[in-house]
């Protein structure tokens, strides 16, 4: 590894001007949140010199607004803080389930869901859960602040809409109302410390009779980016989210998936398992919503 520089801006303006200045000078910068992707990549695949711009010392990225609508989660907040927050857990059980899957206790002390999203791996665990929960990215740049729905944020394997002078400030989520709940499941061959072979997040709202009035279904690790699957949501809306509806939603996920065969699983395997995960995550979301 070669020498690299480290910058620690304390305001968004400072961070953005650092990024803009480096972009103009053709210097390489990389944003640093928990570093659980960045530090590993710097040691192995991507060893070019750079300036690390740490996002953890900015007030806005450390903001956590739970009682508001939308709920706001700053991009510097490690998942351990989220996982231990009972109120968040009850509002977004599926999102927190996903955040709690990242790595291990030690990793979660540092890893952020913002970093997970910005790393933009097709297999990032929190991404389908963020999409299902209706997450919106709050992005700061030289031109001011803009908002992008999470499903529109990702552009490909490891790529997203962020410009060189932009950073993610945090994520906004519509505050769940009434009988609304979410669920996330991924499949890995082990119990932890692994990378998703497939993942599915489901958020849904039920009316008093238990009929589904709104749903969002997102899948991961079965396409170049995590995907929102409207057809799967349509299969749930208007039903009691029974086995038949869940099976139809699962089939819609399989239809939307375009996985590859690799060392982690075959196309056939991923197509099958993503449907299973959608069904199971959907059933979890339904049961949680019914319990509200």
């Amino acid at each position: 590894m070669e020498a690299y520089a480290y910058a620690r801006p304390t305001t968004l303006d400072e961070a953005v001007s650092l990024l803009a200045a480096h972009a103009n000078e053709g210097r390489r910068t990389q944003l640093l949140a928990g570093g659980t992707d960045v530090l590993v990549q710097m040691r192995s695949v991507d060893r070019e010199p750079r300036t690390l711009v740490d996002v953890k010392h900015i007030a806005d990225t450390n903001r956590l607004d739970i009682d508001s609508d939308p709920v706001f989660i700053g991009s510097a907040i490690p998942s351990a803080i989220l996982n231990e927050n009972e109120e968040l857990k009850s509002l977004f059980p599926g999102l927190i389930e996903a955040a709690d899957l990242i790595g291990s206790t030690q990793i979660q002390g540092r890893a952020t869901i913002g970093g997970n999203l910005c790393n933009s791996s097709p297999a990032g665990d929190t991404i389908p859960a963020i999409i299902a929960a209706g997450g919106v990215c709050v992005i700061a740049g030289s031109g001011g602040t803009r908002r992008v729905a999470c499903e529109d944020f990702l552009t490909g394997v490891g790529t997203n809409v962020l410009e060189a002078d932009e950073l993610l400030v945090g994520l906004e989520f519509p505050r769940p109302k009434g009988r609304t709940a979410d669920g996330y499941l991924r499949f890995i061959p082990r119990t932890e410390m692994d990378i998703a072979v497939a993942g599915a997040g489901v958020a849904l709202s039920l009316d008093d009779g238990g009929t589904c009035t709104a749903a969002r279904v997102a899948i991961g690790a079965v396409a170049p980016t995590a995907l929102l699957v409207p057809a799967a949501a349509d299969a749930l809306i208007g039903t009691k989210v029974d086995d038949e509806a869940l099976a139809a939603a699962g089939a819609a996920c399989t239809a939307a998936a375009s996985p590859i065969s690799d060392k982690r699983g075959t196309i056939e395997y991923r197509n099958k398992v993503v449907a299973v995960l959608c069904r199971r995550a959907g059933a979890n979301a339904r049961d949680r919503a019914l319990a509200r």
């Binding site: 499949f187 692994d194 060392k263 099958k272 299973v276």
Partner: protein, 753 residues
């Protein structure tokens, strides 16, 4: 002959002497050596699985500031002679070519050059400036393909040993064992099971990558610091590769972060010595995890065919085994021991065993815990399970019906001394985990395991300090708590408390020769040397007491750590403790030390019986191990916790191999999962608590009845898993690993049938 006895120290569970320093991080491992002016070496590895090396040119790299030396195959002598010792075997010449390719690169990751530079980063950067011209050749990547007539040859000069006239072949050797008339046996059988089984390439998965530092003194003598299972073997192998004499090399072992057989061979040491010789500086070399996977010892992938027949009453009438193992790029797959273990638990009248050592373009196989036995016994123990189902018999009863005993002639030749297989089977039958019915929808599997264990050469010295502290100096690197066992055996023999004994692993110049820590030999053979050296001390202490008391030495007894007059010897003296004698040794004749050196015989075979309950997720193919019970004959458990630790660790390695571990290659022979993310060893939460039960059938060849326990534990879990998964599914998947995609595909295929 050793019998169950009451011991004072043996069988207790004190904390191991190296434990606290390892837990706090104070202990020094292979990569922790640092010397003034030290520089760093890195290896350039072939990007091709099979290629002719036309040219290696390091001149551009040498121009880079901070680069001190570049070496390649041309810098090493050719025509090295002799066999290497240790568990893996092979010739020094193959070892030398494996360490640094000469005219052909034989696997992706094969070393083709090395560089020494001021920093590790510079050395890595310099690798990119070494120009190598390759003529890429098609690789042969599968044992079945490699055995076909006309297959691409890994080595154009390789012929089958004993059948050289047949011309070049990838089959380096064929092993055969036969007794009785298998065909007549099958004709007499009521039920015959015949099936093919495949087991993938697996790595030992030690956490600590290979590392060493070498430095030459002004006379050109080399000192090598490294993590190894056998520094005397590192010395002779390094000398052999470099064309030096062993007297020119001193090897100092560090603590070792796992080896499991993989650190009985060498990869870096001759390169570091050569680079140090060229640069005049100490050179340190540390492998990355990727290098460990690409270039160091996996164990063989295998294709095994088993046929076994029995009468309705369970008597096996005949069995045959056809075992083909991938050796990697050079001969030496552990197919010999695979053949010798396949039927070891059974008393068979008619059998035939054939084994094939087959070259493929993959890294050269190295020893891995009971080398060769897990593959062949996975096949046989799976077939036994099917046979039990076929005749409607409990699988333990079927094994009891055919069980080998003391006096049985082992399939591989010798007549068994006392062995523990029957006791293990009987213990399994009544174990509460076995008598408790399995949960609804789950599967249960059982299998037997075996390993020969070995003796070989060991030395030990025992020294008394003036305060009565006992120092044990021996040469077996401690990979599983052996220093604690040495201390316990010394304490038992001398009759002193455990905590006055200190055990050390000496370097090649401060202690006598010891073979590698492998073959589960250390507690047995080096332990035997320690016991004998302690007896030497006792004899001397009796002399000193006799002189003090003015009697003959044969009038003195040694009990409970004290010299006392023999019964009937009528003198009025106080007993002299070891500490008393040590305190006055300067006045009674000088320092006291005992020593022993030996070539131990009668290691005593180790048998086990394991069983497990599993759950299979029918929609994802994921197998969860719900419970696992390991029962094993340890002879005598010197330190029961560390015996249990071996049983548990071996079980986890076997389960990992059964569930997810495998080398995944692309069509060009590039390993796609050279890291722990995708080479999936189990994580702690994947495993249930491994329940253990130690059986003790003492080994008559050891004063305390020890038999090796380190390797047997990995053998049975493979078939246990296959058998349990088959029980859960209601049909058999005969190949490993039972990874989710394979299991789900099998479920789907079965449903379509």
């Amino acid at each position: 002959m050793a019998e169950a006895r009451d011991y004072r120290a043996i069988g207790t569970r004190p904390v191991r002497p190296d434990g606290v320093d390892k837990v706090t991080g104070r202990a020094n491992f292979g990569a922790d050596m640092n010397l003034p002016n030290m520089i760093h070496g890195k290896v350039l590895r072939s990007p091709h699985a099979h290629a002719r090396i036309k040219r290696v040119d390091g001149s551009r790299a040498l121009e880079m500031p901070g680069v001190y030396a570049v070496i390649s195959g041309a810098d090493f002598p050719s025509g090295a002679e002799g066999e290497i010792s240790g568990e893996g075997g092979g010739t020094v010449s193959d070892l030398a070519m494996n360490i640094m390719a000469r005219d052909k690169a034989l696997y992706h990751g094969h070393a083709v050059a090395a560089v020494a530079a001021k920093t590790a980063f510079l050395a890595e950067t310099a690798l990119e400036l070494i120009d190598v011209e390759y003529e890429v050749l098609p690789p042969v990547l599968d044992v079945d393909v490699a055995m076909e007539p006309g297959a691409t040859l890994v080595n154009e000069n390789q012929r089958t040993r004993g059948n050289e006239s047949a011309g070049p072949s990838n089959i380096a050797a064929v092993t055969k064992f036969e007794r009785g008339d298998p065909e007549a046996g099958f004709a007499a059988a009521d039920v015959v099971v015949e099936r093919d089984y495949r087991v993938p390439t697996a790595h030992q998965g030690y956490i600590e990558p290979h590392a060493c530092t070498a430095s030459l003194d002004e006379q050109g003598r080399a000192t090598v610091w490294c993590c190894t299972q056998g520094h005397f073997d590192v010395r002779s192998m390094t000398a052999g590769v470099l064309g030096k004499s062993v007297g020119e090399i001193k090897v100092i072992p560090s603590e070792i972060g796992g080896g499991f057989g993989g650190k009985t061979v060498i990869y870096l040491e001759p390169l570091a010595v050569k680079l140090s010789e060229l640069t005049g500086r100490p050179v340190k070399m540390v492998m990355s995890r990727e290098e460990v996977f690409r270039a160091t010892g996996p164990t063989s992938a295998s294709h095994c065919k088993i046929k076994v027949g029995a009468k309705r009453d369970g008597t096996i009438t005949a069995a045959t085994a056809w075992l083909a193992y991938e050796a990697g790029a050079y001969p030496g797959a552990p197919v010999g021991p695979g053949c010798m273990s396949v039927f070891a638990p059974y008393d068979l009248e008619n059998f035939r065993i054939e084994g094939f050592d087959v070259l493929v373009n993959k890294p050269k196989a190295a020893a891995y815990r009971a080398p060769g036995a897990p593959q062949s016994m996975h096949a046989m123990e799976s077939a036994m399970d099917e046979l039990a189902r076929g005749i409607g018999m409990d699988p333990i009863d079927l094994r009891l019906e055919n069980c080998a005993d003391e006096g049985t002639q082992a399939p591989y030749g010798p007549v068994y001394p006392p062995i523990g297989i029957r006791k293990c089977l009987e213990a399994a039958k009544v174990h509460t985990n076995y008598t408790t019915p399995k949960a609804e929808g789950t599967g249960r599997g059982i299998a037997a395991g075996f390993w020969f264990n070995i003796g070989m050469q060991s030395s030990a010295e025992v020294r008394l300090s003036e305060d009565g502290t006992v120092t044990v100096m021996e040469g077996s690197p401690d990979i599983g708590g052996s220093r604690a066992s040495m201390c316990l055996m010394a304490a038992e023999t001398l009759g002193v408390p455990y905590d006055v004994v200190r055990a050390h692993v000496g370097d090649t110049e401060s202690t006598g020769f010891c073979n590698v820590t492998g073959g589960s030999r250390t507690t047995f053979a080096t332990g035997l040397a320690v016991v004998q050296a302690c007896e030497d001390i006792i004899a001397e202490c009796k002399q000193r007491a006799a002189a003090t008391w003015d009697v003959d030495a044969d009038q003195v007894d040694w009990t409970e750590g004290e010299a006392i007059p023999k019964p009937g010897v009528n003198i009025d003296v106080q007993p002299l403790s070891l500490a008393d004698i040590a305190g006055s040794m300067g006045r009674t004749g000088g320092p006291i030390l005992g020593r022993a050196s030996l070539n131990a015989q009668g290691a005593g075979a180790g048998f086990s019986v394991n069983f497990a309950d599993v759950n299979v997720d029918q929609e994802t193919g994921k197998v969860d191990i719900l419970s696992f019970t390991a029962i094993q004959d340890a002879g005598t458990a010197i330190h029961p916790s560390y015996v249990e630790g071996q049983m548990q660790g071996g079980a986890v390695q076997g389960l990992g191999w059964a569930l997810n571990e495998e080398y995944i290659y692309d069509d060009n022979g590039v390993m796609e999962n050279a890291g722990f993310l995708d080479y999936r060893v189990p994580v702690a939460s994947d495993m249930p608590m491994i329940d253990t039960q130690i059986i003790e059938v003492p080994n008559p060849s050891h004063p305390y009845g020890v038999r090796g326990v380190g390797e047997t534990p990995i053998v049975a879990p493979l078939a246990v898993t296959s058998n349990a998964v088959s029980d859960a599914l209601g049909f058999r998947i005969s190949d490993l690993p039972l990874s989710p995609p394979r299991v789900l595909a099998a479920i789907d295929a079965h449903e379509e049938d």
